[in-house]
Symmetry: C2
Subunit: 351 residues, 2 copies
Amino acid sequence: MDFELTLDARKQQILKAVVSDYTETGVPVGSVALAVRHLGSWSSATIRNELSTLVEIGYLLQPHASAGRIPSDRGYRYYVDFLMEEEQVSPAVRRQVDPVFPTRPAAVEELLEAAAMVLALVTDAVSIVTGPRALGSRLKHLDVVSLDPHHALLVVLLEGNLLQQQVFPLSVPAEQETLSRIAAELNAVLRGLDPDAIEAVPRRDAGDAIAALRADTIAQVLLVMRSDGAGEDTVVIHDGVRNLLRQPEFGDVVRLRQVLDIVEEERALGQLLASLDLAKSVQGVHVVIGAENEVEQLRGCSLVLTTYRAGDAARGTIGVLGPTRMRYSQVSPRVRYVSQRVGQALERLLG
Amino acid sequence: MDFELTLDARKQQILKAVVSDYTETGVPVGSVALAVRHLGSWSSATIRNELSTLVEIGYLLQPHASAGRIPSDRGYRYYVDFLMEEEQVSPAVRRQVDPVFPTRPAAVEELLEAAAMVLALVTDAVSIVTGPRALGSRLKHLDVVSLDPHHALLVVLLEGNLLQQQVFPLSVPAEQETLSRIAAELNAVLRGLDPDAIEAVPRRDAGDAIAALRADTIAQVLLVMRSDGAGEDTVVIHDGVRNLLRQPEFGDVVRLRQVLDIVEEERALGQLLASLDLAKSVQGVHVVIGAENEVEQLRGCSLVLTTYRAGDAARGTIGVLGPTRMRYSQVSPRVRYVSQRVGQALERLLG
DNA sequence: GTTTAGCACTCACCAGCACCGAGTGCTAAT
DNA sequence: ATTAGCACTCGGTGCTGGTGAGTGCTAAAC
């Protein structure tokens, strides 16, 4: 196998044409079809010769001896890196995407779920969205509601309008009025702090009931905030599994099952994303083709991923998973577009 | 077609055996197999005669002339209603289910997601869980958090500790302090009231800023309470789509897609559940067999559903969707078991 | 040297066909 | 009422030969 990294212009053109045709039809593409559809300037025989060398040097595959050619992973990689011309995101798509992001999003969860939904819709693939890392790290508001004299409900609003609740026992019986006063005081003191700062807040060990309740509450606040931030990519949302069923490559149910086993297993998916995204901090859309990811079961699948940003701190991963035979030139800009919208909405949400 | 509703003992035994065998193997079951595996006391010829009449009166189907028999929807219905003996929930299953429900669950969402996950696991079907409805609910607590001078976040705690949030615009700019005062006042006035009562609360049209903000807030509270009660089942979680792929009835991708189109579409699923659950307020597990549900695309699927309860107010639907050829005698008690666990966990959560 | 026309060859795909066997319905004997 | 016996049905399997898209190679043309 030859390892020349550069292809001459004609080979590039042919590779591009093969990717384009095969992506569209899903059928191995032959020399005659190429000649008439794309490359009239050469005869099918010439193209055959070129195809033959492209197979030799690993950019194309031949399913069987008397069949046309399909791009190999390496071929797709070359296409994506050097040949692909990204399509504009059409107004029609914009009209589908934009209304999903309200000017005043209510909460992060809903925002991401909406994003996953619409991304699946406009890419015809399975969308994957992770929750913003290091979000909800600061306290925005808290409230304490009396349930009975010995128990209260702590309501915590974190940065990003992440709402958390927690029932906890009171070490001293208390009425709502007392709790409200404590909540008000803590709001004034703790607002905008992260867990470490909250822990560092001096505790007035006055030994009285108020101090005890105050300590109770702070302990619960820390519990809630810490338990949330601990995991890697916390939430992993996905949508659009039904889109895969439209692809002929998943006509075989077994393959589909392998993919679903990964996608539906939040942990596995989170690990996969973590392993990929750390490898590259570069901006832009990241395309992982076929066997480039190390998960055995995702052979034949590609990932198109990017990160969304709000300000600088909060970021998560958003993208799609689909068959390797995917319209990268269209999917890639759409992923980027949705990602930008998510970022903007998140910024509005965070204020 | 004869319409006798009661089957003699032998027909019952045969029907039961057919359901049992077919459920296990997925292959139409013939008279000889029945004779040797279940009903040695009669010859295959006798059984053939009985099978023939069971087909005539609609309890069994014959895929083609020289094939064995499979249960019809009606046959399954008879089986579930009269013949089925529920299996015990095995200790092994309990060991899978129990650890999922911590003694102190953090939030409703997580609880339900965990329930969906484990229910899919132990039933080998697609689990479906809706968020707890707050029917006829009363206001327990509210809080208003300033986002910016012109917008605030309303946090509403309903009876049953159901948290709801809503961002809304302020008709008059306001600071947190003002909002807190309004929240405190409204808490005193509105606590324990239902939407109608809240609407009836006199509005002091003082024309000042406070009155305007007060009106804004009340309007939002009503919106939240009403939209929650009025809508169908709010959140719909599902898990375990991959389980369907193991079933031979979904070897055909087209059928799978039809089902997924429903399952992945939250709205459609919510409507379906709403339409079913209203029809029956009886306690216990509800089995919807094959074409008994009115959704065209779910032919060949059955639903096993129940409601989970915590106290009396909060309740939601939990259950599974799978092929009609399903092990009802096992699935049904497992759905009930998980449902009970959810209820208990919810009670602990609500305190 | 590069390109191209021509041609034999390969191989997946499909339709047709015979065969097999599980399973039935019917009849006559028990 | 039950059962043994038997002819019949019909989906599934595997074999066969034909078809056509597509190739690789060779020799001629540019």
